[in-house]
């Protein structure tokens, strides 16, 4: 896929994952969340030696295991069997979360219900009163990684933007998201609330995106 600034076609989910992968520098230590973020690993260049972290206690995670390679002692954070990449290491849970919280993890790629213009993230709870809450490592990843990349559809099925002035869903972490990849555009965020549109897809203009998100977006596509 060419990386320009204005593209006529919307990105598919797989293309969003591919687009994220192209922004991961060689040698980076990366944690991929469950769902579309996991697909990012399909597009990483093996020669770049990007190290995948899984929060249950491993650096250097290899691809999913199948058939005879399945070992129930070797799982990823989604509890699926995985494999070892050469150079991998194991550690206990407290060290694994120290890797995040201590600022050692370069990038976390996560899904989201909403992201605010200041980079506040909502991805752990819908806020429905009878839902059983479950958080896992979402809050630790949000505050810990040097960069938090979110992959999400920009618009809900009901036509509401998920990039918002203020979160209406419960907070996962404040001011943590640095970039949002959607089917229509890529947005760079900072904690002061400036949102820069760096690429557009599907023929939308930055003015269209301003209407859709109700945000005063900065056109950085040129």
């Amino acid at each position: 896929m060419s990386i320009g600034h204005r593209h006529p076609e919307k990105l598919t989910r797989a293309q969003m994952a591919e687009r994220v992968a192209s922004d991961v520098p060689a040698g980076a230590v990366v944690n991929l969340g469950i769902g579309i973020p996991t697909q990012v690993s399909n597009y990483l260049n093996p020669e770049h030696e990007i190290i995948l972290h899984t929060e249950n206690g491993m650096l250097g995670m290899g691809p999913e295991a199948h058939g005879d390679d399945v070992d129930v002692d070797l799982l990823n954070a989604g509890k699926l069997p995985v494999t070892e990449a050469p150079g991998c290491s194991y550690f206990h849970h407290a060290d694994s979360f120290a890797i995040m919280r201590g600022g050692h993890l370069d990038i976390a790629v996560l899904g989201a219900f909403q992201v605010s213009q200041k980079g506040d993230l909502a991805n752990w709870h819908t806020g429905e009163p009878d839902a059983i809450p479950a958080v896992g490592g979402a809050m630790d990843l949000a505050v810990g990684a040097k960069d938090v990349f979110v992959i999400m559809e920009l618009m809900t099925k009901a036509g509401a933007s998920k990039l918002v002035p203020e979160l209406t869903y419960p907070v996962t972490g404040l001011g943590c998201v640095t970039r949002v990849y959607t089917e229509l555009a890529i947005f760079d965020l900072d904690r002061s609330g400036n949102v820069r549109v760096t690429e557009t897809y599907g023929g939308v203009s930055v003015a269209d995106l301003c209407d859709m998100t109700h945000l005063d977006l900065i056109d950085a596509t040129e």
């Binding site: 002692d73 849970h93 979360f97 059983i132 896992g136 490592g137 630790d140 996962t172």
Partner: protein, 228 residues
């Protein structure tokens, strides 16, 4: 002679009382001390507080313990899964208490208990409903929440190999909560498929030193990949 090896699962669990706080290791099937959990189920205890990453899955292990009514409270990070129906039912019926903790805070609170830390400030959870009512502090421009240790009366963990002093080796991602839970409990009980002679484990490779372990019971592994 120091000998932490014990003969049976039932023997190592015999003194756990009603109302105990019990840490159970494991993340998914990896590191789950399934035989110790099943032994706990046979004890027919009540009023237990269980510390685990989850709240039981499918119709086995911790899920059956929850179903049995033995568990009063669960401290965990991720109770709700597609196959957590026994916990879901108890929770919706108001028959079980849940303390939901971000996974890294769960690990660090367990670690802190074992390390003698009185409390600590963590950025995880700041500004969220899981920090409601907790003390906060800004340190060098970053916002933190005060979190307290989680201690336990007993820890039930699975390791790969042990000697009679209780020195432990783990295998791959089954290590997960084992080393920190072993430190945080008054009495740590370990199931392993393989026993080693004292002196046969390479001291450079021991992950949990025996000082953190009280009882070891040998149970065969059901994982065909786990060989000595």
């Amino acid at each position: 002679m120091i000998n932490k090896f014990r003969d049976s699962v039932d023997e190592v669990l015999a003194d756990i009382p009603d109302g105990a706080t019990i840490m159970i290791g494991g993340f998914g099937l990896a590191g789950q001390p399934i035989d110790l959990i099943n032994g706990l189920l046979r004890r027919n205890l009540t009023g237990l507080t269980i510390v685990n990453n989850n709240a039981g899955n499918t119709d086995e292990g911790l899920a059956l313990l929850v179903k049995s009514g033995a568990v009063r409270k669960v401290i965990c990070s991720f109770p709700r899964q597609v196959d957590s129906w026994h916990f879901d039912k108890k929770y919706h019926a108001g028959e079980i208490e849940l303390e939901l903790v971000p996974q890294g805070n769960l690990a660090e609170r367990i670690r802190a208990a074992g390390a003698g830390i009185g409390a600590f400030y963590t950025p995880s959870g700041y500004g969220t409903t899981l920090a409601d009512g907790k003390e906060t502090r800004t340190i060098e421009g970053r916002d933190y929440v005060l979190e307290y240790p989680i201690r336990a009366d007993f820890a039930l963990i699975k390791a790969h190999k042990a000697d009679r002093w209780g020195n432990l080796l783990y295998r791959k991602t089954s290590r997960n909560f084992g080393p920190i839970m072993a430190m945080a409990a008054t009495t740590t009980i370990v199931q392993v498929p393989f026993l080693a002679e004292l002196g046969d484990l390479d001291p450079e490779n021991i992950v949990t030193p025996g000082i953190f372990v009280d009882r070891v019971v040998q149970v065969d592994s059901t994982n065909p990949k786990e060989h000595s």
